[in-house]
């Protein structure tokens, strides 16, 4: 009986096996073309993400805790992402909208996410505001924050103070809009956001591994030509968050919020 079910699954598998090289080729092509045009960075695991290494570890974890606490109190998700360089040819407003949307910052129904993007080498920043906060943080206010409060500090090379001011002002503007439940999404999911975000992927790899073992035992197929099995790991553009994750005890997990292009930015 188990043998029979195994065989029937095997036949299904064999068909998908034939498709796999094609699929892989298509994926690789897509990855290459997407890389040439634009890279959407992977979802961050913390609220404060310094991929460019411009603030100290202590400050990074302080900001992170501040933003996690802010979500507990207000349910608003505010994420800060500092990148060395923009990986797109698009306008910063377009690109950061796509990234914020892909990250799903904010609660799904309230759509109350805000992401402050900073690109150090481009000397540009942008505050993306989710649909649900466009009233509390209108473009003019966002522009005021970047232009008149963050920019002078960035110009002076004081990134830490600039980011601190930006975070404070964003939080101040959107504080009264919604009430929090005392827990973040990552809290509710249990465990850190980084781990729970990876969990489906780990399960997927595990299942693939078991399946490949199973089929090799049954003698139908071997992966010997390809080695490790069809594991496709999306690369996030080549840098890792150095100090951002360091000491950040509160993980971030996006709630599926959406962005409509609200917000403003400046260059310094």
């Amino acid at each position: 009986m188990p043998n029979q079910s195994g065989r029937s699954r095997l036949s299904v598998r064999s068909r998908s096996e034939q498709a796999t090289p094609l699929l892989l080729a298509a994926l690789a092509l897509f990855a290459i073309s997407a890389h040439a045009a634009e890279v959407i960075p992977p979802k961050p695991g913390t609220y404060f993400n310094d991929y460019a290494g411009v603030v100290s570890k202590e400050a990074a974890s302080r900001f992170n805790e501040q933003l996690a606490q802010f979500e507990r109190e207000t349910s608003n998700q505010v994420v800060v992402a500092v990148f060395p360089k923009m990986q797109s040819d698009s306008d910063i407003a377009d690109y950061t909208q796509r990234v914020a949307q892909a990250w799903g910052v904010g609660q799904k129904e309230r759509r109350n996410g805000v992401v402050l993007f900073v690109f150090i080498q481009d000397r540009k920043m942008f505050i993306q505001v989710g649909y649900g906060l466009e009233g509390a943080l209108p473009d003019a206010t966002a522009f005021d924050i970047t232009e008149r409060h963050i920019k002078p500090l960035f110009r002076a090379g004081n990134y830490e103070a600039g980011l601190a001011t930006g975070i404070d002002l964003i939080c101040k503007a959107i504080r009264g809009e919604y009430k929090g439940s005392g827990k973040t999404i990552a809290d509710r999911k249990g465990g850190g956001g980084a781990i729970s975000g990876l969990l489906p992927f780990i399960i997927f790899v595990f299942v693939l591994f078991i399946l490949s073992r199973l089929f090799r035992k049954l003698g139908g197929y071997s992966y010997s030509s390809r080695g490790g099995g069809p594991v496709f790991i999306p690369s996030g553009g080549g840098w890792s968050s150095s100090s951002g994750n360091g000491g950040g005890f509160s993980g971030f997990s996006g709630g599926g919020g959406s962005f409509g292009g609200g917000g403003a930015g400046s260059s310094w």
Binding site: D91, P138, D139, F143, E147, G262, G263
Partner: protein, 219 residues
């Protein structure tokens, strides 16, 4: 006799089965088409919202700008005229339903494009008026206008996506048979106008002269 009755029974059973399956398939497809169509109409409403938002900003913008000493009047007239023609096109459209006629959408797009051009010309002219560039009210309006252009590009993108989903459903077999029977025509979508893939360049950096082009020249 018995055999005949049995045969009849089987035929009837098969017929009923076919009818039920067909009805389920048609019902399922129909519901899916309705859902997709609703998504299109909804995203169209969003598109109109953001365009409306831009139109609402214009009187305030024109007032603020015309307050500047001897401001070039012709650009202001262009903006006001373009806004009026957008209004005329808009009244011909059903606000709750995305346009089904490609020409209608094209007209709408042309009118909005004209307004975009007039606005970007206005903002270029503003560069020559330092008193405006120091005016808080104007700066705030400019940030709002810029944000509105971003929203427009986002909502246009969303609209095109929902139209594409709908059109794929309408055109693919076997849904296309049902779509044809029940009146679900393919919908037109926004096309990129020459030179209009990007929102008009309303991003100005007043305090530091021309820092932007460096980004494009990096290898």
């Amino acid at each position: 006799m018995n055999k005949f009755a049995l045969g009849c029974g089987i035929v009837v059973a098969v017929l009923i089965f076919i009818v039920v399956v067909a009805a389920l398939a048609i019902g399922g497809s129909y519901n899916r088409l309705v859902r997709l169509q609703q998504a299109v109409d909804q995203s169209w409403a969003q598109v109109q919202n953001v365009y409306q938002r831009r139109a609402d900003l214009i009187p305030n913008l024109v007032n603020t700008v015309s307050g500047a000493a001897n401001f070039e009047k012709s650009t202001l007239v262009d903006v006001t005229n373009a806004r009026a023609s957008v209004g005329r096109v808009q009244t011909q459209l059903d606000p709750n339903k995305a346009p089904t006629d490609a020409a209608q959408l094209e007209q709408f797009q042309a009118a909005q494009g004209q307004l975009s051009n007039a606005l970007s010309r206005l903002l270029v002219v503003v560069e020559r008026y330092p008193e405006l560039k120091a005016n808080q009210n104007f700066l705030s309006l400019q940030a709002q206008l810029e944000g509105t252009e971003n929203r427009i590009s986002v909502e246009r993108g969303n609209f095109n996506q929902t139209v594409q989903d709908y059109n794929v459903a309408v055109r693919s077999f076997p849904t296309n048979l049902i779509a044809g029977m029940l009146g679900f025509p393919p919908r037109p979508f926004f096309t990129a106008q020459p030179g209009a893939e990007k929102p008009p360049p309303v991003q100005f950096n007043f305090s530091s002269p021309a820092p932007a082009p460096a980004a494009t020249t990096t290898p």
